[in-house]
Every structure is written in C-alpha cells, then in structure tokens.
Symmetry: C2
Subunit: 230 residues, 2 copies
Amino acid sequence: MSEEKSAYTPIPSVQRLPVYLHFLKDLRRGGQRSISCTQIAKQFNQLSVQVRKDLAITGISGRPRVGYKVDELIDAIESFLGWDKETTAFLVGAGSLGSAILGYHGFNEHGLRILMAFDSDPKKIGTTVHGYPVFSPETMGIQAQRYRVDIGILTVPADQAQESANRLVEIGVRGIWNYTPRRLVLPENIVCVDVKLSASFAVLSKRLADSRGLDVAGEKPRDKSPGKSY
Amino acid sequence: MSEEKSAYTPIPSVQRLPVYLHFLKDLRRGGQRSISCTQIAKQFNQLSVQVRKDLAITGISGRPRVGYKVDELIDAIESFLGWDKETTAFLVGAGSLGSAILGYHGFNEHGLRILMAFDSDPKKIGTTVHGYPVFSPETMGIQAQRYRVDIGILTVPADQAQESANRLVEIGVRGIWNYTPRRLVLPENIVCVDVKLSASFAVLSKRLADSRGLDVAGEKPRDKSPGKSY
C-alpha cells in the first residue's frame, strides 16, 4: 500500500467513493462478503488500478486473492469521508430547491442531519416543510445558540447568496454547501463546496452542440467518446 | 488569439463560463458596455490569464486597452455553449427533486424547455406539477412522436435509473442529465452528464473532517487553504 498512499487527497478519488459505497452496500444486502478491485472496476467500466488507488486513499488495502472484505471497505470509506459522524445543518432558502432537499432523505445515511430551515418569506415563517420548521433568518443567531450547527445549505436566490452566507459565517458554521450560482467570498477557515448546476448544464449543452455539429467556434470536440460521464 | 485557441475544449473552462455569463449580464443591466479580463479576474479572484484562456475557447478575443464588448462576450459564450438554441427535455421522475427542477426556471434563459414530466406513481399521472403535465412512462414513446425531444432529465430513484435511461434512449434522446447516484450504461452516441450530489457532499464532508482534525486515515489535507470552492 505504501506506494499508493499519497500525502494528499485527490478530489476526483473522493468524488468516486460514494459511487463505490452505494454499490458495496447493495452487495452487502445481497449477502456478498468479499470483492476484488477487478470486480468493482468492471462494474463501473474503470481501470482496476484506478479503483485500487481510489480505495487506498481511505487507508485500506486489499489482500492478494481475497480482495477486500465488503464490511471493512464500507467502514473505511464512511470513516474516511466522515460519514460515520453526524453533520448538522441549517438550510437557508425554503423555495423549490430548498424544499426538495428537505424532502430528500438520501443524505441521512451519510450523517447529514438538517435541523431547521430559514426563509425570509413571511408566508413560510412558522410553517413546516416536509416536517422541518421554517424560521425567519433574523432568528438564526438565537437558534444557533441552542444547537451545534456544522454547515449551512444555501438554497436562496442568487442575489441573496452572499448576505445569507455572511449570516451563516456569523453564527459559526464551519462549512457551506452552496447551491446558488454565486461564488461566495468567505473567510479562509470556512469550507465551501459549490454544487454548480449551471456548470453541469453548460457541459451537457456544449457536448450536445458538438454532437449536433453546431460548434460555432469551429473547434473539434475534446473527446470523441460521448457517453462518458462528468 | 491563435496561441490561445486550442484544438480541444477544456471542461473546467466550460464549467466557469456560466459564472462569467451571469456576471456579464448583471453588468449589462447596469449599463456597462465593455470590460477587461483583469476586471473579471478580480471579481472572481482568479488569474487574469486564466480568464483570458477561458473566454478564448468561445472564439472571442479582447482588444488591447478596450477589452471585450460586454454584448459580444455574452453572445459568444451563449453561442459557444449552445444556449442560443432551444434544448427540449422530458423530465422523468416527478418526486421532490424532479418537482424542484420543474419549479425552477433558471435554466430557461439557457434555452432549456421542459415539455412534460413522467412518473410511474398512478396518483401523479394526469396531474400537473408547477404547470407541467405528468404522464405515465409507458406513454413516453407516443409523446416523443409528437415532440422533438433533445434530452431526458433523470430524477427517478436510483433503482429505476438504468431502466428509465434505457427508455429515454429508445425514444431517441441524444443526451441525459442524470441526477441519480447511478452511473448509467449508455450507447456511445448518447451524451451523459451526472450531477453527482453525493460526490459534492463527499468533498464537503471530507474537508470538514480534515478541518476537524478527524482524518482517520492519518493523511494530511490536500489543500491548506480552506474556503476554496469546488
């Protein structure tokens, strides 16, 4: 393992871990006890050496012939990602996107626990959305004194993004999961991850335009193998 | 411009274009007619040379002293991304995430036009969600004969992802915008872009765990400057 264990954490490997985890949990439910890199690689149409490197960042290494124990691999990935610990969150912006996140429970099994939602719309304040109470943003400081809150999930309209982010920083969150199209200006010690739905749509549109032969700039598509996922 | 115009389209540059576009449209609304790379770079805390390279992939080049005309730059980006053309879509899966996308109109200005939604839940079939009619997935083929549909937006539960994708391919879409956590197996000619919300949450969790000093694998964080966005 020593040559695989690097001194830094490559982001693309981190991004692939949830996909492996999902697959491994399916296997476990089906009663499978061990698995090889080659089998995982085959499932995802990737190189076996890439899968081995991705998994090695969690500190786990497979054994010759045996491969990995499914249980150990699941634990290693969850522990590496911090998904064995609870991450508490305030959701700011209970519009359509915010409501969708409140109604989606897929992140619960990764330790995410949304505590409550905030919205400046007087019609929403005092109501619940998917069982979560909605409060005025003005009360955020008071609520933060009652609960330990790790992150803010930012789902407000773009023009309220920075102001809402500032408020989250003030109440002491350590991270922001930013669903708005705005790039936030934040103190150095705040972890921020942008979801960038527009960036995703840009890649899709560009690749469609290329495949239509409508590439206005007259350039060749970068990658001749469509079907590849980004 | 010649040395900047490369033979391929770098994905990170494509992903940054929507952010510039958003900013440029704000400027135009404010009456500004021209802008330099340096000004854009300053706004986004990036290197000027990086901004110039990003914009150059659209085929546009700034003029010394003048910079770019805001109007021309907006047109160049939109045309490069195919956002000056209409992209029609079927949305498959009218659950909470699907409904959020139906209710969000931010992609309209990028040419996205959702035609209708499909859901296998008998309670939803025949109703409308945010004004969009919901049909049974069985009728997808018939609907596709009546409308030209470019892409499928996939917001079904994970275990229905591949089956729904197969159906979309059958009715002739050229691209899939995949919001499910599954990696899809698709024909070579289908463009697929994954939104990967779990991957995004994995990066956030890992960086929070690192900043907590709870890095179980005992590795050093990759990047000592938190606050950086991914």
